[in-house]
């Protein structure tokens, strides 16, 4: 078995691959922040909401976190046209990943919401703060610093998980790797280069997140 590695053809496509990495980042940012917003409301509803709301949020979280994202996207991708809703693959994947992230982030943010002590809310009420003011000035800063480490880990995890978009024809990093490798037939080399790009991306993200955590929130925990 003689195989000589040849990275030249793959490296010539590096700008194309990095363009794919930019699309990966877009998917991750939309899914993460969309999911975090939904997750925040989910967490608040799960802690402070009435019982039926709490139970339905819990059912959603348990079901979504116990089934694969890939199959969830399949359902959205193939079943929605049946119901008369047509989505292009990028939109379907982004919506599915956002809804998927929302479930995980509800659980993560809930742990932060629970960590807020009643005395803090009482103090804010004494200062005559409204509901939104309490959320903005008391709950969010507290929740943010408590959940920052698991949140950052989830961000990295989502970055890796977003590669399944490739299976639906989205031309993000992995998708473009599949495109290139079917053309140049340097499959191994292409995917090794792509693996290196993913390692770089996640290392950059880890560095940026831990800097952000230290500077803005004063969190000093080791991240993935």
């Amino acid at each position: 078995m003689n195989y000589s590695f040849d990275f030249a053809e793959v490296l010539a496509e590096l700008p194309y691959l990095l363009g794919g990495a930019a699309i990966t980042l877009q998917i991750v940012f939309i899914a993460f922040f969309g999911g975090a917003l939904l997750g925040l409301f989910g967490a608040l509803g799960k802690v402070y909401g009435p019982s039926p709301l709490r139970r339905s949020i819990n059912a959603y979280v348990v079901f979504v976190t116990n089934t694969p994202a890939l199959v969830q996207i399949f359902v959205l991708y193939y079943a929605l046209p049946d119901a008369g809703i047509l989505l292009d693959s990028l939109t379907a994947v982004v919506i599915a990943l956002t809804l998927n992230s929302a479930a995980y982030l509800t659980d993560i943010i809930r742990a932060g919401v629970v960590s807020v002590r009643q005395t803090e809310i009482d103090a804010a009420l004494t200062l005559n703060m409204g509901r939104l003011q309490i959320l903005r000035h008391v709950l969010l800063p507290h929740i943010a610093s408590t959940v920052f480490p698991p949140l950052s880990n989830f961000f990295i995890w989502l970055m890796l998980g977003s590669s399944i978009a490739a299976l639906f024809g989205v031309e993000e990093l992995t998708g473009r790797a599949i495109n290139i490798s079917t053309a140049n037939l340097r499959t191994i080399e292409t995917f090794i280069v792509v693996a290196v790009i993913y390692v770089m991306l996640t290392l950059l993200a880890s560095g940026a997140l831990s800097l952000l955590g230290r500077r803005v929130l004063g969190v000093r925990q080791r991240l993935v």
Binding site: T65, T67, L167, Y198
Partner: protein, 229 residues
Amino acid sequence: MWERIWFEAPGFFTYHNAIFFLEAAGRTLGMTAAGCISGFVFGLILALLRQTSSPAFLPLRLIAIAYVELFRRIPFLVIVFIVLYAIQPLFPDASLFAIATIAVCLVATAFLSEIVRAGLESVPQQQIDGAVTLNFGPLRTLWYVVLPQAWRVIIPPAVAFAVMFIKDTSLASHIGVIELTFSGKMFLNRGFSPLLGFGTVLLLYFAMSYPLSRLGAYLENRLAPARRS
């Protein structure tokens, strides 16, 4: 949409289809179990290598660190592709199931190594010093002193990891392993309603994953207080 499901259901929920789904679910569980068990063994070895301090072990230590840090930063799908295209030319007879299982093992080793390492580090140094004083060798110290105490810290996150991997093996469907997700695709291609096929697949995943995640939560509550004493 619902009329279609209602209409197709009798042809879908047949004895042979049930057997087919169960066999596919069995392959999903098989890949997960093989990955977790071998990942635990190799992960333990890597974690132990990272704990060594003599200069002679430095290269091995660096390899262990590099392995763990790299494989946790590459998407599982990309690893599946690399393993597929690396193994197929070398071993043309290798089954797709074996290839997918190897990919699972590679990733599981990296993740479980970190979990095991956290467990090993949770054992107080005095315990190890005590064992050394009693003239225990390294292996006996590990087996009789460190591991019995590290279990409490290792098991809950390891179970959570297994839950994650039941879901991740769904990506093996892409290279053609006939596991649970693949069976959903097959029923789609046979013309059944996507909600019927993939809905069943979702429920079967849930049936495998939910008991395990409940077990993980139970063990975490059960073992956590003991950790503090």
